[in-house]
Amino acid sequence: MTDALSRAFSALADPTRRDMVARLTEGDQTLSELAEPYDVSLQAVSKHLKVLETAGLVTRSREAQRRPVHLEADVFDLMTKWIERYRDRAEARYQRLDAVLARLEDLDPDAPHDTHEGAAS
């Protein structure tokens, strides 16, 4: 699971691939449609596409002749969840800090509303 997500994140570390993904959110596109705005060879775009495919971010249908590229929304959900968990841990840490700060205020009556007094000592 982590490996899949790691691949997805590193696939998106490239600005061209991020741009391709952004354009695919509007709908499926063929390779040549995807390549159009870029000043690089079709081969280079095809390479980027392979990276996105390996990361599971996009799929290409085998049947249709145009072989349109399709964005896999599920992978993005996983990435969102990953960041959510990191956020939850950070939030848990800061809630512990809230509790610690509340205790500090009890010990240090100058501190709560008098911003310039607290650091004395």
Partner: protein
């Protein structure tokens, strides 16, 4: 990149930057900048909140002056076989409004992240923490994001429940 000062962040807001290997966090506290700074710099206070519930944090070395260094251990609770994880770094800059800190997990000493904590006074005794972690690669950043994948999601809430039960909040 930077947001306006208007939205409140009573809960941690995370951004994984798509363009640089960085993580940003914003969080508001009912405390002064000086107190927040102290909570990050005083080792006795730091150990009370920095680690997850599953570990005990033990400071080995701590010199929170500009260019000073630190090292601490996260010791896993739960008896035998409890692992120990060491973290270390330096404090290039230390003040009431801003702390710049390098950070690494000891087994990967070359993979250093640069942590910048800025404390902005919001008035009324509230302060916003902006934490910016800049990693040396996207891979390292993603590993940092992934590092808690296997710990329980609810751990933080259990810890909070305990604090609530003790009346500490």
């Amino acid at each position: 990149m930077s947001t306006t000062a208007l939205p409140h962040h009573p809960q941690a807001e995370i951004t994984a930057d798509p363009d640089v290997p960085a993580i940003r966090i914003e969080r508001d506290f009912n405390a002064t900048a000086a107190q927040l700074s102290r909570a990050h710099l005083d080792p006795e206070i730091f150990v009370q909140w920095c680690g997850p519930d599953s570990v005990t944090v033990r400071v080995v070395e701590w010199d929170a002056r500009p260019l000073g260094s630190y090292r601490y251990l996260c010791v896993e609770k739960g008896g035998e076989g409890g692992g120990e994880h060491a973290f270390r770094g330096t404090f290039p800059h230390v003040s009431e409004n801003r702390i710049v800190q390098t950070f690494c997990y000891e087994p990967f000493p070359e993979s250093i992240s640069l942590e910048t904590m800025t404390f902005t006074d919001l008035g009324g005794g509230r302060t916003r923490l902006h934490a910016f972690s800049l990693c040396d690669s996207f891979e390292a950043r993603d590993q940092m994001l992934a590092s808690g994948m296997d710990t329980g999601v609810n751990e933080g809430y259990l810890k909070l429940d305990t604090l609530l039960a003790r009346g500490a909040l």
